[in-house]
């Protein structure tokens, strides 16, 4: 009975979401800001969830997210920049002949191949990141907590240095970055408009991560988080499972990076600096370390608040003739930092703690408030 009700509620909410997104797609001109923040929010939701898989569920404090995102972003961007734009993008140093040749092949391939190619590019970006994670994991996953954090952070900086180095100019365009990246592709022959694409891709990825967390392997991850020594004594191969979590997390970070490249249309190595990792960490902490739904919720809230609702903090504000002090460029980020510190120091659980969203709890809370109101009256 209750299970049926919850399924019904979930389905309804998803159906409404889809309808809303279709409506938004039809009216995207009038709602530019909303579209923009929702797309960015959903991309960050995926990175946050993948970071949470590592930090919150496996207990590995890694700060390499931005690095893996940049691998995905660069791979996707290099693969999908149309052949006619190549000379414009690589105007300084020219493009590597291999890349041009590859693009010619894609451009000459049947329409179906071309329509799925952006997704192939995302997948390749993810696989490349996963492969790199598997290789460096051999080295870094032996390290304990804070050493791992600083090593992964360093790794991310190494990746950034490689992407912006003049030695790879013909591939990554060095410090000039890449632009003219096509936006999100349509899906299913135009039945699904391009606006929905990031939501669908992220949806699949998050469902995968959720299934993984609830599988036997996910339980093993949690065991490692709780107590490495006990987990190992229970027959769990620490290295194998940590590496699994690291590879999966890197894969999805890279997919999100690819989506971000499509969203931003132009990327440079500087985009993926330490600050980006910190931004993602902020989302994870506010959402609750160890909660997938918390991360998703927080990704949307933080992005929307940062990019839209709280914009006014950065503008001078007038009450009549009196200018409210403090309101000027940069104030918004100060508010955010303070908010983060408040969560870290006082509301340590964040929005969701380590629990997941459930209808039962929501309805339970709703009833309780209602009852207590009734009691007071």
């Amino acid at each position: 009975m209750r299970i049926k009700r919850n399924t019904l509620l979930t389905t309804t909410v998803f159906a409404l979401l889809v309808v809303f997104l279709y409506w938004l797609s039809a009216n995207r001109m009038q709602n530019g800001m909303l579209v923009s923040v929702l797309q960015k929010g959903v991309i960050f939701a995926l990175v946050a969830v993948s970071m949470n898989l590592l930090n919150g569920f496996t207990g590995l404090f890694s700060l390499g997210q931005a690095g893996f995102m940049s691998i995905g972003a660069y791979t996707t961007a290099i693969l999908i920049i149309p052949v006619k734009s190549l000379d414009g993008v690589y105007y300084m140093n020219g493009v590597h002949p291999g890349i041009r040749a590859l693009k010619m092949v894609v451009a000459d391939s049947p329409a179906f191949v071309q329509s799925i190619f952006p997704f192939v590019a995302l997948l390749l970006g993810g696989l490349l990141a996963a492969g790199i994670a598997a290789i460096v994991g051999v080295a870094v996953l032996r390290l304990k907590s804070d050493y791992l954090a600083i090593a992964t952070l360093g790794l991310s900086e190494i990746v950034r240095a490689i992407f912006s180095s003049p030695q790879f100019d013909q591939i990554t365009n060095g410090s000039y970055g890449l632009n003219k990246i096509p936006t999100f592709p349509e899906m299913a022959w135009g039945l699904i408009p391009s606006l929905l694409t990031p939501f669908i891709v992220v949806g699949f990825c998050v469902v995968f991560i959720l299934l993984l967390i609830n599988s036997s392997y996910g339980r093993a991850f949690k065991a490692i988080r709780e107590d490495e020594i006990a987990a190992e004594a229970m027959g769990i191969n620490l290295y194998k499972h940590k590496s699994m979590s690291f590879v999966v997390s890197s894969f999805f970070s890279a997919v999100a990076g690819g989506l971000l490249a499509m969203y931003m249309r132009s990327i440079e190595a500087k985009t993926f600096s330490i600050t980006m990792t910190y931004d993602i960490l902020l989302i994870v902490v506010i959402g609750g370390i160890g909660s997938v739904t918390g991360s998703i919720l927080s990704a949307f809230l933080v992005t929307i608040a940062k990019e839209w609702w709280l914009r006014f903090f950065d503008q001078p504000l007038f009450f009549g003739g009196w200018q409210v002090p403090l309101f000027r460029t940069g104030f918004r980020m100060v508010i955010f930092s303070i908010l983060l510190m408040v969560v870290v120091l006082i509301y340590r659980k964040g929005l969701m703690g380590s629990t997941e969203f459930s209808w039962d709890r929501l309805i339970g809370r709703f009833r309780r408030t209602k009852n207590s109101e009734g009691g007071a009256a």
Binding site: N55, G59, F61, A139, V140, R142, L143, S145, D146, Y147, A149, I150, A151, L153, G154, L155, E157, I158, R160, A161, I162, S164, S165, P166, S175, I229, I274, T275, Y278, L281, L282, V285, I289, R328, T329, G330, F331, M333, V334, F336, S337, I338, L340, M341, V344, L345, R348
Partner: protein, 293 residues
């Protein structure tokens, strides 16, 4: 490259290394006692740069330096009280996140207060005076930095090894819980540690920025991380180790830039870190630690 050019670069490297060494000591001390990478340390160093700019705008330089150092020290102690002390019994990850949060806050706060546009660092005429040694030319600060670093480390070593506070610090870094049970005032020890670390970061900041000429809200991040690497390289918790690490990274980085690999000079530091952690996780001079089951 001629011998003179190489020597010239080495001199610059040693000077940079001296500043790194001073910052690295802050990391090593704090890590030794709290087992915490103080991610905000680089930003304390950056803030010290801004303090100096503002202090020098209204005071003569000796007063300005004193003000800068005092404010930086107080800020370091304040950060510990406000952001780390409440989390002393929380899991390691929370306190690390708190440190990152402080770093984030300081960066955003300074962007807000001072804008992201680089601000010129005032020139102290005495520090910038150029000396000629044979074919080498060096400003006074280049020569002063390594000397001052060595002197300060010497003083610090005496403080740590010969005074009562130093003994308390060593005891706390060996075993936090036992030190507490033995009646050592942990809060005081931690405060002293942060004070020393921030003071040295303040001095390092003056030396570093005099050579670099401008400060931005993000100019603390990378030097900060590099100095942590220096501390790990030398063996975390080991003061002379941090100094050696600081000089090493400073010199190699300068040489890499001189050879035209400037994009890789940052990457090199982190590569060094990863290799070090794999080959000898305890660093050059670190002690071995056996984990108890």
């Amino acid at each position: 490259m001629s011998m003179t050019t190489i020597l010239q670069h080495c001199l610059t490297g040693i000077s940079l290394g001296g500043a790194y060494a001073l910052i690295a000591i802050g990391y090593t001390l704090v890590y030794g006692i709290l087992r915490l990478i103080n991610f905000a340390h680089g930003d304390i160093f950056m803030m010290a740069g801004y303090f100096m700019i503002f202090a020098l705008a209204s005071f003569p330089w000796p007063v300005a330096i004193i003000i800068t150092l005092v404010v930086t020290t107080v800020m370091g102690i304040g950060i510990e009280r406000f952001a780390y002390k409440p989390l002393r019994n929380a899991p390691r990850m929370s306190i690390m996140i708190s440190a990152i949060g402080v770093s984030y806050l300081l960066q955003n706060l300074s962007t807000y207060l001072f804008t992201a546009i680089p601000r010129g660092y005032p020139e102290l005429p005495y520090l910038k005076k150029i000396y000629q040694i044979g074919e080498l030319s060096a400003s006074f600060v280049t020569i002063l930095t390594p000397i001052l670093t060595i002197v300060l480390v010497f003083v610090l070593m005496i403080l740590v090894n010969k005074t009562k506070t130093g003994m308390a610090m060593r005891a706390t870094s060996k075993d936090f819980e036992t030190a507490k049970l033995m009646g050592i005032n942990i809060n005081r020890v931690v405060s002293v540690t942060f004070a020393i670390g921030s003071l040295l970061a303040g001095i390092g900041s003056i030396l570093y920025f005099t050579d670099r000429m401008s400060v931005t809200p993000f100019s603390g991040t990378l030097p900060g991380l590099k100095c942590f690497v220096a501390a790990v390289f030398g063996g975390i918790g080991n003061i002379p180790g941090a100094v050696v690490g600081g000089f090493f990274i400073g010199i190699v980085e300068t040489l890499l830039v001189a050879l035209g690999y400037s994009t890789f000079s940052d990457a090199f530091t982190f590569l060094l870190l990863i290799i070090m952690l794999l080959v000898k996780p305890t660093g050059l001079f670190g002690e071995k630690n056996v984990e108890k089951v």
